[in-house]
Symmetry: C2
Subunit: 157 residues, 2 copies
């Protein structure tokens, strides 16, 4: 428990896989914490790596940084998260994933049922008009069959 085993931003970047700029951003957003040395440079405790692993995992699950901040607050502060901690948290994540999967499956099945008709009718086809826009008097703001999350395309990777 030396006080000297703290990491500079470059080393944390290399070990966590996050860019240094991302680390700075996370610090500014209160997701991670750093102290400063005499010259004003960031020094991270070693446990920031676990915290960053958590951030990466949560972001893979589809949580926003705001949500991740909330989740991080639920983590035990001083001890390594144990099985019970992890189970409680993963329950939450699993629910999120299950929702996402279900939404995609509904969409895929709608697609299947649409193949026969070749319709793409604005009025009748559940696939192109999941909200039945135009059927009632209340206007739908846009497609909401899928959450916004699931409606974007992969950029490159």
């Amino acid at each position: 428990m030396h006080t000297m085993d703290m990491l500079g931003v470059g080393e944390v970047a290399a070990r966590s896989g996050f860019a240094a700029s991302a680390l700075r951003y996370y610090e500014s957003q209160g997701l991670i914490h750093a102290v400063r040395n005499s010259g004003g440079q960031r020094r991270f405790e070693r446990n920031v790596l676990r915290r960053l692993a958590f951030i990466r995992a949560a972001s893979n699950v589809g949580l926003s940084l705001d949500e991740i901040r909330v989740e991080l607050a639920k983590l035990p502060d001083n001890r390594t998260p144990n099985k019970a901690d992890w189970e409680r948290i993963s329950q939450h994540w699993r629910g999120r994933l299950d929702q996402q999967i279900a939404a995609l499956e509904r969409l895929r099945d709608g697609l299947t049922s649409c193949i026969g008709c070749g319709c793409l009718s604005l009025q009748r086809c559940a696939f192109s008009n999941p909200n039945d826009v135009g059927a009632g008097s209340d206007r739908a703001p846009g497609a909401t069959l899928l959450p916004a999350l699931l409606r974007r395309a992969p950029t490159k990777a």
Copy 2:
């Protein structure tokens, strides 16, 4: 087949469920076409509604507007898309959806296998380190277990 049954932007907006501003944007992006009347106002052919239904459906599948432009180019220009057209296109979409579903399931299963360990280890845990960052000599640019598409959180809905 009168020449007068063309629609103003407001009516297209009402019937398609897209905002007028979105229609203007789609026109500027070359996704839809409009002629102008004597006063410079947009007049849409009736078939723009089918095109918009297609755009909505494709965007639900997760295609970007760029991709949708490409898909639209594959549609028959003058006739209503028939079953064969639709089958060919939906094949493409289904593949996309299947990929997305598979990615989410891998993630969920990784979560399950992680529950037992309570690890979240940067080095060993496949969930927090899907790319095995730090194991090899080549740096990974970020989490890519999921496409970027699947890593964002729903905004509200």
